[in-house]
């Protein structure tokens, strides 16, 4: 996975509350058993106005100013709903590297971290201030996310954000979580051996 240290880019100020994973990628767009090639299905229900995939000019991402957006700005409870990791894969496939929101649904948050997308939580008024500043001129008012310093910056403002040390470390190093855990394999095996004695009732049924 690509490590995340810092990222500067165009922000897409959707600001919606409760933006769910069905909206990020509708179920029918998840046509394959793989993680790539999902960018076309991103936001399909609101991005296209008809079956021919004609871009809906009403949707912000279709505006030329926002075509190259790589930072998504949402409201509260971002990524709620289905656990589908396709939502993050589609965002990443399109080129999004940062999601800024007031709060996140926990599965979506984990999925972001697992795929090198930085989830940033800030309070409502900071998010609105940032969005207002971006809207003035999206093409030049770029946001800069710095994971080493844990800041999100505009030209004249810097917002500190809090992220769990684990999420930060995984993102900074582009760590594959499985390999990290397998370093503790001996510990896990010992724990299970002990547990098998303690909870024999559980191990006896499925084997």
């Amino acid at each position: 996975m690509k490590p995340f240290t810092n990222h500067i880019g165009v922000a897409l100020p959707l600001l919606a509350d409760n933006l769910n994973t069905d909206v990020i990628i509708p179920s029918r767009e998840m046509k394959r058993v793989s993680k790539v090639g999902l960018a076309n299905g991103l936001f399909a229900n609101i991005r296209y106005s008809d079956g021919n995939r004609k871009p809906d000019p009403e949707f912000l991402l279709n505006h030329p100013n926002y075509h190259t957006a790589s930072i998504l700005i949402l409201g509260r409870n971002a990524g709620c709903g289905s656990s589908r990791e396709h939502a993050v894969w589609a965002l990443a496939d399109y080129g999004f590297r940062v999601v800024l929101a007031e709060s996140f649904a926990s599965i979506f948050y984990n999925n972001c971290v697992a795929n090198g997308v930085l989830p940033i939580t800030l309070d409502r008024s900071s998010i609105e201030a940032i969005a207002d500043w971006v809207r003035i001129d999206p093409t030049s008012h770029h946001l800069s996310a710095n994971l080493e310093k844990c800041t999100l910056e505009t030209v004249d403002n810097s917002f500190e954000f809090v992220i769990t040390p684990l999420a930060r470390r995984m993102l900074l190093n582009g760590l594959a979580p499985i390999d990290l855990t397998l370093e503790d394999k001996v510990l896990i095996d010992c724990f299970i051996a002990e547990d098998m004695r303690e909870r024999q009732w559980l191990y006896s049924v499925s084997d």
Partner: protein, 460 residues
């Protein structure tokens, strides 16, 4: 300081703690379905990873399999066969159990888990599906995960979880006879907001929860994720123990005695402390129904819609309703009883008791999809299918069915559907379909009246 139920469950499974307060947790059971499980398994196969304990993995076909009566083993979603075929292929390659469309143990993953005794008190169980929190009603620590976490759990038998805050919601007061756990949980979400429990584990407790049967508790915990909780749990009691006893994957003989004694100890200590401790009196709750596109957009069936607000403009537009309009009396085009929220035998019995001797309005398409084969077989054995069919409902095979739209057949665009499911998001049941979620009783009674109706009338 005493321990909470959550702390006890976590402690029992904690392989190690990290400096940042997160923990590596042993995962006892993993459930998979064809929609997301296929993705995780094929990815593991292509990366040459092993499943650490294949015998602890259980999979089924539920999401996109056709539920039409007498279904063939095909998908109702165009292109969906890829997922079903792949699920068969990879399950076989890894040697894990798969309950396919023609297996008597098949059904919605969260319905078959307690039914087969896969979800048991005191265990950890995960599934790449957000409604896995349902299983917290068994006294298990159960939560939904994404594909990457699923691969992690399969490969290492563990997951790393951060520290969560803890919330107890005690439900008290005298429960009116028509009040369901669905009404209660919708009421909680509308009262506190759909993101209220972000970062929390919720423990449901109190006299009303104790009175609830296990299937009602499953409904309550099912919607924990609609409350943004990491998961929801309920301490196992004698009802839970009796419910689990004798199920195919529950412990037997001597093991059962030991397990049951252990389960009985899994309660929050009297002096345990919670970050948030709430008491909600249920005696005042009326039958609930959602009106908008988030489960928090819900009102009592006898209330009117809220004021116009800037953030609700799109919502009103989508649902085709106006501020201050009554919800009761809104004409409906469809009715659906099913889903991991409300498709168990007791749900179908209660809905059938309302439908018995009555007919659904002829212009309405009404569908019932039992949550599992076992539910379907039991329901048919007591003649519930006939009640549904005579009332004008379609009687489907087991699966998620019309709970969510993945392409293919569904209600027609622009239709208003009353549904016993858990999500009323835009397009959740099909493009332009407006979903109103409610209890199965409210769905049945509204279908009979052709409009959103107050189920209390049915009990008069």
């Amino acid at each position: 300081m005493g321990q909470t139920l959550y702390q006890k469950l976590k402690k029992l499974h904690e392989v190690r703690q990290f400096d940042d307060g997160s923990s590596l947790i042993l995962i006892d059971r993993i459930m998979l379905h064809e929609r997301t499980g296929s993705v995780a398994l094929s990815n593991m196969l292509s990366e040459n990873r092993n499943i650490a304990a294949p015998k602890t993995v259980f999979s089924t076909i539920d999401h996109i399999v056709d539920t039409k009566p007498g279904r063939p083993d095909i998908s109702r979603m165009p292109g969906g066969m890829v997922f079903i075929d792949e699920m068969h292929r990879v399950s076989k390659a890894f040697g894990i159990r798969l309950y396919g469309a023609d297996d008597d143990r098949q059904g919605i993953v969260h319905v078959i888990a307690p039914e087969q005794g896969i979800a048991l008190p005191g265990i950890t169980i995960v599934c790449p599906d957000s409604h896995t929190c349902t299983l917290g009603a068994m006294g298990a620590l159960a939560w939904g995960i994404g594909s990457t976490d699923c691969e992690h759990a399969l490969a290492t038998r563990t997951l790393r979880i951060p520290q969560f805050k803890q919330m107890r919601i005690r439900l008290t007061g005298k429960k009116p006879k028509w009040l369901t756990s669905k009404d209660v949980v919708i009421n909680l979400i509308s009262r506190f907001g759909a993101d209220f429990a972000t970062g929390f584990v919720i423990e449901f407790a109190g006299s009303v929860v104790e009175e609830m049967e296990i299937e009602e508790r499953l409904t309550l915990c099912n919607m924990g994720v609609e409350f943004a909780a990491f998961t929801a749990i309920i301490a196992p009691d004698h009802k839970t123990i009796e419910y689990a006893r004798g199920r195919p994957f529950a412990p037997k003989g001597e093991d059962a005695l030991i397990a049951e004694a252990h389960w009985a100890s899994l309660v929050s200590d009297i002096n345990a402390s919670f970050d948030v401790d709430l008491e909600v009196d249920v005696s005042e709750i009326a039958p609930m129904i959602t009106w908008g596109t988030s489960p928090e957009h819900a009102i009592s069936v006898d209330e009117v819609l809220p004021d116009q607000r800037s953030d609700l403009a799109d919502v009103f537009k989508y649902v085709g309703l106006r501020p201050h309009e009554p919800i009761r009396g809104q004409r409906i085009d469809g009715a659906f009883i099913g889903s991991c929220t409300n498709s168990r035998l007791s749900d179908l019995r209660r809905a059938a008791s309302i439908l018995k001797g009555r007919k659904v309005k002829s212009e309405i398409r009404a569908i019932c999809a039992p949550g599992s084969k076992e539910v379907k077989i039991s329901a048919e054995a007591e003649g519930l299918d006939k009640i549904f069919l005579e009332a004008g409902f379609e009687w489907h095979e087991a699966g998620c069915a019309f709970c969510f739209y993945a392409g293919g057949e569904t209600f027609s665009p622009g239709s208003r559907v009353i549904s016993s499911t858990n999500r009323n998001f835009e397009g959740r049941q099909g493009p332009g379909v407006c979903t109103h979620i409610a209890s199965p009783e409210t769905v049945a009674w509204s279908a009979v009246n052709g409009q959103i109706s107050d189920v209390r009338e049915a009990y008069e």
